[in-house]
Every structure is written in C-alpha cells, then in structure tokens.
Assembly symmetry: C2
Homo-oligomer: 323 residues x 2
C-alpha cells in the first residue's frame, strides 16, 4: 500500500477551492451558485499518446493541459482534477518530475488536485495516465458542438500544424531548421490551452471545440452535431512561418488540415460578431483567424487559392467519415 506514501510525497498540495482534498474515501467540493459543472476525462497511454521515454516534466504538463483544453472548449473555468497513474516501478525521480510538470500546469490555471490513485504495473510499456477535470460554467452558457448555424463564420485560434511538425521531426520523417525545432517541439510537448478565449467566447460563439485530432477531423464533429456543412479557405488557415515557407502541396495540407495535438480552439459565430472577435484577439494578444463558413449543404469542402476544391481523400478523409 505504498500508494498512500507516493501520493502524500508527490501529489499533496494546498488546495484553493476544495472542502476536503486527498486522503479520505472521496474529496468534497461545492459548486458555486448558478453554475453548472463541466466534466471531461482523458487517458494517455505510453506508446499511443507519448513515447515511453518522454520527459516526465513535459508529460505531467501535457497530461493536465489536454484536459484543461476541454474546459476551454466549453467556455468553462477549470477548477478541480483527479489523477490516476499506472506506472512500471516506483520511480521517485520520474514521479517527482512528472508531478512538478503537472502542478506547473495546475498552478497556471488555478486548479486543485483533489484525488489520486497510483498503481504499479509490470512493463515500462504499461505507463498509463488517466486524468479527469472539472470546471464551472454559468448555467446555460456552455459552448456546445451542436450550436453551429448556416452562415456562421468559422474561426480558429493560433497557428495550426506546429505540434504535428514537431512530432514528425522527432520521428525523423521531417528535417526542420534548428531555430524552428524549439518552437515546434514546444507546441507538441507543452500545449497552452485557450481557457481565457473560451470564457470570452460565451455569448459570442455558437459552437466550439478544441483541435486535438486535426482541424478537419474535429470540425466534422461540429458539422455532425449541428447537422450542417462547411467551406474552408486553405490559404486562410494560420500556420507557422516554417510550415508556410518550407512545406507545400499535399504535405502542407496534411499539417494544417489534419495535424493533431494543437489544442487551439475552432469555433463558429454569426458574421456580425466579427469585430467583437477581432477585439478579443487584440485583448488576449492571440491570433484569431476566419477560415471559412458554415453551409447548408452537408459536406466539408476545402478550397485552394484558385477556389478549386481540394480532394480530401488524399488526406485519408471521407466527408463525415473522418471520425
């Protein structure tokens, strides 16, 4: 039952907004008056979501950050999280670094860790991290995937494709300039969830989600949930200088349209909200780009500079079967 010592040693911190934290059969929290609780769970598995020898600090950050991103996508304020880890052997150095990265993210977003469970597994390949996050959103104001309306502009935050470039660089499939390496690996290892943006988008955006599997794959969830289609302008999609300057054709399309792990937000809003959204971009010092329109025809179309339709099948996507 070393579990308890492990948790006490590495995962017990002062909580900010929790009635009873780690150490009993359950934690106790109070949800503020007039608020709904938003809840999301994600599991990261060694070999599938990260390399077995991934840097523990960065892995700790990312394990929480990808869940924080789900709160951002709902317009919720993340407040509480539970963490369950199955790890090969009691490795205090690994756990210490992992917890430092995890709490670096928790402190950045003012989140309390309120529950923990650690289990010893057999092989190194078994490293499994399960995180559940909870946050508050004013009742009825959460931004769902199902609210997109015909005629909405489609927006994305930040540049897309950077994390995918970082991953392909690590896999040795892509050579990138040394000065670009840091930037693209940071996007892959230390994603910055757009919590502030999600909160401001309440009442502005009709639908929203975070881009974890690639723009087209994720956008299709909005289209399916809202029963609409979309037309995207390829050249309007923001990306990194390196991608814009060094990649083109199918390769370029792959990274910006289907590159995963960006954790930027994709949202739709009525056209008359454009000025408000550009003001938000200024206010948050975060690029927000209008990349297309929600259409009545239930298809996802991407147009190139010459307004020619791009064949998405080349990206391994069939309309509405991407998921």
């Amino acid at each position: 039952m070393a579990e308890f010592e492990l948790i006490e040693q590495h995962f017990t911190r002062l909580t900010r907004h929790t009635n009873l934290g780690i150490g009993d059969d359950a934690a106790l929290i109070s949800v503020s008056e007039g608020m709904e609780l938003a809840i999301s769970a994600d599991m990261l598995v060694s070999g599938t979501h990260f390399f077995a020898d991934a840097d523990p600090y960065q892995l700790g950050w990312k394990s929480l950050a990808v869940n924080v991103s789900d709160m951002a996508a709902m317009g919720a304020v993340p407040k509480w999280v539970t963490l369950a880890i199955a790890l090969p052997q009691q490795d205090d150095v690994w756990l210490s670094q992992f917890s430092q990265g995890f709490f670096a993210c928790a402190n950045t977003f003012n989140i309390d860790l309120i529950g923990g469970d650690t289990t010893k597994t057999q092989q190194k390949e078994n490293l499994t991290i399960s995180v559940q996050i909870m946050g508050e959103v004013p009742r009825g104001q959460a931004i769902k995937r199902s609210g997109a309306k015909v005629g909405d502009d489609i927006w994305v935050s930040g540049p897309l494709g950077k994390a995918a470039v970082g991953l392909q660089h690590l896999l040795g499939n892509l050579v990138i300039d040394s000065e670009a390496v840091t930037e693209h690996l940071a996007a892959l290892h230390m994603p910055a969830p757009r919590v502030d943006l999600g909160i401001v988008l309440r009442g502005i955006a009709n639908s929203c989600l975070d881009i974890s599997d690639g723009l087209l794959g994720d956008l299709q969830h909005i289209l399916k949930a809202s029963n609409v289609g979309a037309q995207i302008q390829l050249n309007a999609i923001p990306t990194s200088e390196f991608i814009a300057q060094h990649l083109d054709g199918i390769t370029f399309q792959r990274y910006v349209l289907a590159g995963g792990d960006d954790y930027e937000l994709c949202f739709t809003a009525a056209t008359d909200k454009a000025d408000q959204i550009l003001a938000v971009s200024q206010q948050l010092n975060l690029p927000l780009s209008k990349i297309g329109k929600i259409t009545h025809e239930k298809a996802l179309e991407v147009l190139d500079a010459r307004q020619q339709t791009i064949t998405l099948d080349s990206l391994g996507y069939n309309h509405f079967n991407g998921h």
Copy 2:
C-alpha cells in the same frame, strides 16, 4: 478515431440527471441546492487488480462497484461516473459484456455514465480501467475518516474475509467445499456496495470508510486521521460459515483481519447510538456487528477469546505502518 464509434456503440445510454452527456468536449451537470459533490477516482490494472482473462461482465460490475463503495463510505449518493479504458484490441464481444456488467451496476444505483475514453494498447497485459465517480451529500454531513472519538464503538457491516477466500481458492491456495465456492467467488467478483447504509449513517457515525485492503489496514486510516487507537475483539468480527468452521489460528486471523476486497463499511459511533444502529441493521436487513472500541492510547490491539493480545506482526502489520 474509432474511439467515438466504440463509445457510441457500447457506452451511450439514456441519462437520468445529466444536462449534457457523452459526445461534447465535456459533460454538464447541476449539483442540487445545499449539496456538496463527493468525488473519487480508482484505477484497475490487469495483473494487479484482476486476472487478464477475468469475466468481462463481472469486471464491468466490479470496476464501478468499488467506486460506488467510496461514495457509500462518505454517506454520499452516487450519481455520475466517467470511464476510461485502455484495451489491447478492439474486442466488441469483450466490450459488450463489460459494458453490460458496468451498466448493471450503474442501473442498480441509478448512476449516469457521462464521460468516456477508450484507447488501444499493445499487449493484453495492458488492460487498464479508470473510473471516476461523483455523488451528492448534504453540505457538512459527509462521514469522514477523521471524526472517530475516544470511547466510540467500532462497527462493521456484513461478514469479512469472503472475497479473500474466493481469491485464494482461484489461486489454488485454498480448497473449499463446492457449495461454498459460489458464495465466496460472488463476494470477490460482484461486491455489493453499502450505499443505503452510508446514507443512514449520516448523523449517527462519527467516522467511516469502506474495507478494500483488509480491516486492520483500513481501520488504521481512521486511527491515523482521528489521532486515536483501537481495541478489537477477534471473536466479535463477523465472517462466513465456511471461514468460521474450517479455518483457525493465523489462517483465520489473516482472512478476517487482513482479507481485502470485501467493500463492507467500517464505522465508529458513540455508545448511545448502539440501539439506533441495531434498528438500522433490521431496517436494511444487513448484519452490523460491534467489534471493538476507539481508545486514547494510539495503538491498534486485537484480543482473542481469552483476552490475550494477538501479535499482529504475524499478519505482516506493524502498528500504524500497515499503510
């Protein structure tokens, strides 16, 4: 992204008390007026908590039941759960049976599944199940581990040791009568969390927890949290007919004092609550047994029939180091 089809196919059910269920970036729930939210997370790992070839229906039931038991131990009403599974290959038969067992338990306790995540792993040994449960308890009425008072009676529900006997039988370490097999394997595979008891114990018990790691190991969590000691009467501990008739000495002590996986409740209450507790036992048709007293001296003592102190070190326990 077959994840979405898997979840839709096996894990989407009608929800009873959820504002937004599976399918968006997060689920949305409302916590009732005047209630606190109780939250607990548990991870079950193949090879550590169950056999890789465990019956999927029973595994589904137990994965949820052990978490429901944490709600019972707090006096909370379980209402919502999220489930993350990492499984070796997309096995529809396994997932179908697992989800049937999981929902059998969910329906028994009126719990909504509000979040899901399934991941493909490499080896069969990697099967990992991560559950987080949430429930409601009237603000300030949760039964904590830290409330035990000197002079309190110590109570346990049901018989202890049955699950441990079932496990040792499976491991081939213990031969038991064929008519006893069913009873003891059921205790191991399909535990019955004591939710009704936990709710009734609000305002009666001073402290409570569920017995998952064995009576002594778990009781020590109460003693440590409450800064008290305890004296237990071995012969007052309820157990099964098979254990009482066929096991004795150290073997008997191992099963009733240190046998895990029982998921009965251990609680303490003032002596003048005894009649009320016996009435509860009648009302719930659930045996509740007074097995000892909370003491001022910070030690855990177990007395045999002749009021001789039993050496617990023989059970692998050192006082206050059992955890």
